[in-house]
Amino acid sequence: MGLYFAKFSAFGSFAPAKILTNQDLEKIVDTSDEWIRSRTGMVERRIASKEEAASDLAYQAALNAIEASDVKYKEIDLIVVATISGDHPFPSTACLLQHKLGLKGIPAFDVSAGCTGFIYACEVARQFVENGTARNVLVVGVEILTKITNWTDRNTCVLFGDAAGAAVISRAEPTDISRIIDIKLDADGSMGDYLIQMAGGSRLPASHETVDANQHTVYMEGNRIFKSAVKSMYASSDELLKRNNLTSADVDWVIPHQANLRIIEALADKMKVPINKVIINIQKYGNTSSATVPLATDEAIRSKKIRRGDILLLTSFGAGLTWGSVLARY
């Protein structure tokens, strides 16, 4: 337990304008609208333009979140960006975002935890706020996976979209009802090969061969991941609720990672949460990795589904493997 409590001050999000529908994908690979809908629940997704990079999306989402909060730009004292598709291998996308926001003089760094990145970044932010080191942390989950997608693999290329979601995590005043109650993070590195971008690092540096073999793109064994995704998000959510003496009936909204509608349905079923208490926008955006949870949360806040004081359970799962959950009173 820290000296202070942390809270979500506000959320923001941004998605590129260009829409890619299932019908559009039928023209690119051997697939069908029916196949994609029945296996994933996806109908369309957003695609970044040639000129748009992760920091551009992150910047728009960050502005959106800061404007929705009571926090002034100059009161932000830390930036944490969760991404696996940043502008460059280095410098970090967080530093590029810091520059775009004109916030010179505050620390900024990236967190790499695949689709669980936003949850991991929230825990980093919470720790900084609870121990008093930071007062207002800008947390962003941003991904442009369509630029590292294998467009010849019909099993994976239909799944991904581009977006950014952001949150301002601030010190909670004693009178605030808003509060991050608890967070649980997990990882299992033994299953890393199931979801991986093989080349471009020190294990397999970029070469003509790695490019020809499509090894700079996302490789995923979806069927193997499916079961782990459901079980791990359930286990982490269940433990988080139990250790805070709550049950799933106390939760107003579950905001799960939007990787596959059938994973979401299986999770809701296992948690015994009615599906109308689960925030779902996968049909519009596909899997935007670390952006799904803040994007879905932001949409639900702006559409007035989620209200101040609601109990939220954010849960995600991704490459690493990693998984984790956030329990918060918004």
């Binding site: 029945s38 296996r39 069927n223 499916f226 079961k227 079980k231 596959n260 059938r262 299986a266």
Partner: protein, 77 residues
């Protein structure tokens, strides 16, 4: 309810097929029109119903109704 009846019930519920189709030789994918995710969901339903863990490497052995019943009988027996 015995293992066989429970397995048949799960297959009927998950795949939306009639009892008459759920014969031991019925292959989940070829005969009962399961997709690749259905087979994973079936395994998860077996795990929940019978309170056991079916490792990934065993999952490939459960291709037909009969194979699933035999596998579960052996594990639970």
């Amino acid at each position: 309810m015995d293992i066989e009846a429970k397995v048949k019930q799960i297959v009927m519920d998950k795949l939306g097929v009639e009892e008459a189709q759920v014969v031991p030789a019925a292959n989940f994918i070829e005969d009962l029109r399961a997709d690749s995710l259905d087979t994973v969901e079936l395994v998860m339903a077996f795990e929940d119903e019978f309170g056991l863990t079916i490792p990934d490497e065993d999952q490939d052995k459960l291709r037909t109704v009969g194979q699933a019943i035999d596998y579960l009988k052996e594990k639970l027996g």
